[in-house]
């Protein structure tokens, strides 16, 4: 019976490269791990800020994508490109400020929706 075949202890083997590269990668992934909403009043606003900023970043990604497509497609005038680009730039600067205030990084701005995948 196949299910009676012992599987033994799990083994981790670096087939190519070094373990250090994966350690660095895991550290960068850690903030994206799923979390429960923290009901501690001291930290609740931080969780909400992360949620709101992730949604804003998602919308920004979508809108930037459309703007670039229109710019490359030649359907935007020069002044429209400049105005749109500056609007996105200011939004980005404002988001950088808010991330700094709440101690968040770009890697934090993702939410695991379980079987639905990741938001961003």
């Amino acid at each position: 019976m196949a299910e009676r075949t012992p599987v033994g202890q799990p083994d981790v083997e670096v087939l190519r490269g070094s373990a250090a590269a994966f350690e660095e990668e895991l550290r960068s992934l850690a903030p994206a791990l799923p979390e429960r909403i923290n009901a501690d009043p001291e930290h609740a606003e931080n969780g909400l800020a992360k949620l709101v900023l992730t949604l804003i970043a998602l919308l920004r990604d979508v809108l930037e994508h459309q703007a670039v497509r229109r710019m490359d497609g030649g359907t935007l005038r020069d002044d429209e490109i400049e105005r749109l680009g500056l609007a996105f730039k200011r939004l980005d600067e404002r988001m950088q400020e808010l991330k700094a205030i709440f101690g968040l990084t770009d890697e934090d701005l993702t939410i695991d929706l379980g079987p639905l995948g990741r938001l961003r």
Partner: protein, 235 residues
């Protein structure tokens, strides 16, 4: 008191006497419709700590020593045995199908680092320039384009590597699950459900693939309980 769920096993497999789980609580069985749930009675739901996650996995591995279980998500609790049994009965046919899928198998994981590409290097360079000098609106959109191209290229390379690896291991793999590429991280994780008696063949196939075709860092780990194969396969 809550009932904490570790995993589900086809009926007839008992925890070894003295097996304990979270907080040293004894592990017992709740049965419903041909499925055994391995559980502990806890005074609270169990905090999300590394020690608790390891204790959860230790119980799942104990089940794995007898027959491949369906691991439960960490932290899943029920008010009492009745609530757990109702949940098991409601999902009886689905759970039986999932248990059949993982029967006699284990999960192996390949993690690949997708190396920075020219587009990513460009994006990085432009980010530096952008930070150093105030930019025009057009320059900002050019930076956005570089970021989009970098993401798209990383996704394309991850797809390509996944397809190539699949060609090499398809003969010994029952199913594959992929953790999406997380941006800005650059790793792609591929999980394979492999029959226990084919694990050595699988390892060899992966090693040959890496030797022949890859330059980027690769990590192979397992065998694990089938944590990535508890959901229904995606069409």
């Amino acid at each position: 008191m809550t009932v904490y769920l570790y995993c589900l096993v086809a009926s007839g497999h008992e925890p070894a006497p003295g097996l304990t789980g979270l907080g040293g609580a004894p592990v017992r069985v709740v049965s419903a419709d041909g499925v055994d749930a391995w559980v502990s009675d806890l005074h609270d739901a169990g905090r999300a700590t590394v020690a608790h996650a390891r204790a959860h996995d230790a119980v799942v591995r104990a089940a794995m020593a007898q027959e491949t279980p369906l691991p439960a998500r960490f932290g899943q609790t029920f008010a009492d045995d009745g609530a757990l049994c109702r949940s098991l009965r409601e999902r009886g046919s689905v759970l039986a199908e999932r248990l059949a899928r993982v029967r006699g198998a284990a999960e192996m994981t390949v993690r690949l680092l997708v190396e920075p590409s020219s587009a990513e290097a460009l994006a990085s360079e432009q980010r530096s320039l952008s930070a150093a000098h105030p930019s025009t609106g057009r320059a900002y959109l050019a930076l956005a384009r570089a970021r989009q191209e970098a993401r798209a290229e990383a996704a394309r390379r991850a797809d390509f590597l996944q397809a190539r690896l699949w060609q090499c291991v398809a003969g010994v793999v029952r199913e594959e699950a992929r953790t999406p590429l997380v941006w800005p991280a650059r790793s792609v994780t591929l999980s394979h459900l492999v029959a226990r008696d084919a694990l050595a063949t699988y390892r060899l196939a992966v090693q040959r693939f890496v030797e022949r075709e890859l330059r980027q860092p690769v990590l192979l780990s397992g065998p694990w309980a089938p944590y990535s194969f508890t959901e229904q396969p995606r069409g």
